[in-house]
């Protein structure tokens, strides 16, 4: 009898529902924990999300990536190398202290310091000096005309005195001007943000946001479906997107993201130095099938470094379509024949063989296996090696690879997508690509402030790069958001921004 009572108590405990709260709490799920809450040091996607909610930048990029006023109310280029911002009055930090130009000066001065080791420092090196003209006016002095600068000035502004005092601890005890303040952070588990009563756009309707760190993509999705979460976004398993797209219980929205997946061809490899071989490989890459079958349409076929949905995108780029016959012709013209009848093309005793490498990722592995099979059909011997990220990227950076499957993210400006990657000697030009005309165009694009002129410059560069195939652009990444229908006013943003939560409402 006593035993039975014990069982009854235990069962009741197990089935007891969670406590009810009168507050509006939005429960979100992210795949990784933020490494830091200091916007200057943010290097992962979760840190970026926190930056959007806890801080404000001078500007914010809207869903079309056009800079809009945030802490700055207006700005103008007083000369090609000087940018002046008028700042918003009456803004306070979470600790009650007033925001002014000194905070902007401090934020950017520390950011460009070499020893500060900010991961995105390279984007800000053309900033020579930041000066406070008055408490509500700040001037950026550039070392040369730098067109993308406004795209990068959405970085969170930190309070100079607090950040200076806390030093490295500021990353754990952030103080910003944003719509939400950090209430609690259980490392690796949960982040709790509470609405800021004094936010300059008005207190958010959502009282609290609880972010749960759930590394496994499947479990995160199950949590949303079972009602344990209200909001998740990419990464989402592509097959589940197909399944849930038309679900009546969830709002599922997609848009093009600011990234692409591609094959990086190492031009130091003698076999890949022949542009006809590279063209043949491009003709052998069935991007449509990869997109539809392996990614369930979540990522769309790529063509160039210009991303759909952005101002710089143009439909006019011509690519090497999937055409195995043309590929065979090109390879034959280049002198590749199967002289020893072993099923593999060869030339001067050298077989046409490549090692395809990538990091451990189920979708990426499938892509390489697919390509291996496709390329084998025309006599290319491709082997696939998949290994963990740190080793893989170390090899790529060292140029120790042949064909690597990688991606680029956060490409909120064409300069960011091209300068380091395609310019001769660029830091991210792992495959040693070099074209003098492209160099000219990239230099011009970086300095050209007229958007239409800039668009033409990058269109020309994009066509050249696609023609010469240092990269085979496989897929333009898609961005997926899934949330409870009770969340209204959430804006799907190609950069994955959650800033719209400052004005969104949530009721279920």
């Amino acid at each position: 009898m006593r035993y039975f009572r014990l069982v009854l108590v235990l069962t009741t405990l197990l089935l007891t529902a969670a406590t009810v709260s009168a507050q509006t709490v939005l429960r979100a799920g992210l795949d990784v924990d933020a490494g830091t809450m200091d916007p200057r040091l943010a290097r992962d996607t979760s840190a970026a999300r926190m930056q959007e909610l806890v801080f404000n930048g001078l500007v914010t990029l809207d869903a079309s990536l056009v800079p809009q006023p945030d802490l700055a109310t207006s700005w103008e280029f007083t000369s090609p190398t000087e940018l002046v911002f008028k700042l918003r009055e009456g803004v306070v930090f979470h600790d009650g202290s007033a925001f002014d130009a000194d905070d902007v000066v401090y934020t950017y001065s520390t950011l460009v310091e070499e020893d500060f080791a900010a991961p995105r420092r390279s984007l800000y090196t053309p900033i020579e000096e930041v000066v406070a003209n008055s408490p509500l006016e700040v001037r950026f002095v550039l070392s040369q005309p730098y067109a993308p600068v406004l795209q990068y000035l959405d970085m969170g502004i930190v309070p100079s005195d607090v950040a200076e005092n806390l030093g490295a601890d500021f990353g754990e005890q952030p103080v910003g001007t944003g719509p939400f303040a950090l209430a609690e952070w259980n490392r690796g588990a949960t982040i709790r943000l509470a609405a800021n009563d004094d936010y300059f756009l008005g207190r958010p309707a959502i009282d609290e946001i609880v972010i749960n760190i759930i590394p496994d993509n499947n479990v995160r999705l199950i949590a949303l479906e079972s009602g344990d979460l209200d909001l998740i976004h990419s990464p989402v398993p592509p097959q589940d997107l197909a399944r849930l797209r038309d679900s009546p219980d969830l709002v599922v929205e997609t848009t093009t993201a600011l990234g692409y997946t591609y094959l990086n061809l190492n031009l130091e490899n003698p076999l890949l130095q022949d542009v006809n071989v590279r063209k043949a490989l491009a003709h052998l890459t069935d991007r449509e099938t990869i997109s539809e079958v392996l990614f369930y349409g979540m990522d769309t076929p790529g063509e160039s470094f210009l991303l759909p949905g952005t101002f710089y995108y143009t439909n006019d780029i011509t690519t090497y379509d999937y055409d195995p016959e043309r590929a065979t012709e090109l390879l034959a013209e280049a002198g590749w024949e199967d002289t020893d009848n072993d099923g593999v093309l060869d030339k001067d005793g050298q077989p046409l063989s490549f090692e395809l490498t990538t990091n451990v990722d189920p979708n990426r592995e499938q892509v390489l296996e697919f390509l291996q099979g496709e390329w084998a059909q025309v006599g290319i011997d491709a082997s696939v090696r998949v290994y963990e990220w740190p080793s893989f990227i170390a090899d790529v950076i060292a140029g120790d690879y042949q064909v690597g499957l990688i991606g680029w993210l956060l490409l909120n400006d064409p300069d960011r997508a091209t300068y380091l990657q395609f310019r001769t000697g660029g830091d991210s030009n792992y495959g040693s690509y070099s074209n003098p005309r492209v160099d000219e165009l990239l230099d011009a694009g970086r300095a050209e402030t007229d958007p239409d002129a800039r668009k033409e410059i990058y269109a020309e560069a994009a066509q050249i790069v696609t023609d010469e195939v240092p990269y085979i652009f496989l897929l333009n990444q898609g961005y997926v958001v899934m949330h409870d229908p009770g969340l209204e006013g959430f804006v799907v943003h190609p950069a994955g921004s959650w800033k719209s939560l400052e004005t969104a409402t949530f009721g279920n």
Binding site: L10, T12, L13, L14, L15, T16, A18, T19, V32, G35, T36, L41, R43, E114, D115, A117, P119, R120, R121, S122, L123, A168, G171, E172, N186, R187, G188, A189, T190, N212, I213, I214, P215, D216, N218, V219, R220, I222, A223, E225, S226, G227, D228, E388, W389, P390, S391, I393, A394, D395, I397, W408, R416, L420, D427, S428
Partner: protein, 313 residues
């Protein structure tokens, strides 16, 4: 024995990390960084110094309790371990309890009813437990109990059992148990299988021994024979295995922690490895080695208590 083990582990981890490919500076700086940036970070992290120098500095600081700061989490390693270890311990303890509650009776039943249908079923359960991949079982249990039935939470530790118990809030304890149920069961399935089979074979062996026959001849009831005489003596090998299993549970909770988003040390170590966060990897692995050594020591010491015939000179 303790110190050499710890020092050995420290040395092996230290050398291995610096020998395998993968550079924390490159990962830290990111794909948009330059070689100059990477060099600067390498120097800031002290990774450009000669290996013996790095080793010496590390050991010198470690014996003073300073395990450095995580490169990517920027928090003190000892703090991170302190924050995450209780969660892993909780999971391992609950899995151990689940093992004892399920495997011991299961094994005893199988032994007592040897070669009957009951024995067959029990052995089958044991076999399934050993064969099922943790990942598969874990995700399946979430799909079933969280999504399908809606009985249990789909992820996370909730308030945590240890904090809940110390707060005295029954509701909180209930919450914590609900969160811990599936993860601890998932973690325990392999142990359950192992221990059940061990209990069964131990018991069978003992039940065939002379003194058991004597007990029966003396007229002792079957229950008394099984529990008092046979089981007591099987206890020694069972305790040994449970103790060693606890170490395994402690170290093997990684997959369970990742699936259930359980904020434990295992998950912390895996993330650290994938980023080559040297200080965090070193500190955590040393900590786990110390823990397991301590557990093994306790298991050894418990022999004397269980079996008076064994005494350490």
């Amino acid at each position: 024995m303790f110190i050499p083990v710890v020092l050995g582990v420290l040395t092996i981890v230290f050398i291995t990390l610096r020998s395998v490919p993968g550079d924390p500076a490159a990962i830290f700086v990111g794909p948009e960084g330059s070689a100059a940036d990477r060099l600067r970070v390498t120097q800031a992290l002290g990774l450009d110094r000669p290996l013996p120098v790095q080793y010496g500095i590390y050991v010198w600081r470690a014996v003073q309790g300073d395990f450095g700061r995580s490169i990517f989490l920027r928090t003190e390693v000892s703090q991170l371990i302190r924050d995450t270890f209780p969660a892993t311990l909780e999971l391992a303890v609950l899995a151990l309890i689940a093992t004892v509650l399920i495997a011991v009776p299961l094994g005893m039943l199988a032994a007592v009813k040897a070669n009957t249908a009951i024995d067959f079923v029990a052995t089958l359960i044991a076999l399934l437990g050993v064969s099922m991949p943790i990942f598969w079982f874990g995700v399946l249990s979430i799909l079933l109990f969280s999504l399908e039935f809606g009985w249990l939470p789909s992820f996370g530790r909730g308030p945590g059992l240890f904090p809940a118990i110390s707060s005295g809030d029954i509701g909180m304890v209930g919450q914590a148990l609900r969160h811990a149920f599936l993860p601890s069961l998932t973690l325990a399935i392999t142990s359950i299988a192992l221990v059940a089979r061990l209990v069964r074979s131990s018991m069978l062996e003992i039940l065939g021994l002379d003194y058991v026959r004597t007990a029966r001849a003396k007229g002792a009831g079957e229950r008394r024979v099984v529990l008092r005489h046979a089981f007591r003596n099987a206890l020694l090998s069972v305790i040994t295995v449970l103790g060693l299993q606890f170490g395994t549970l402690l170290g093997g909770a990684v997959v369970t922690e990742i699936i259930f988003a359980w904020p434990g040390l295992g998950r912390l170590i895996v993330n650290a490895i994938s980023q080559r966060d040297f200080p965090l990897i070193q500190g955590s692995v040393i900590f786990v080695a110390v823990m397991i050594s301590a557990i093994n020591l306790l298991v050894d010491l418990s022999y004397a208590w269980i079996n008076p015939k064994i005494r350490y000179v």
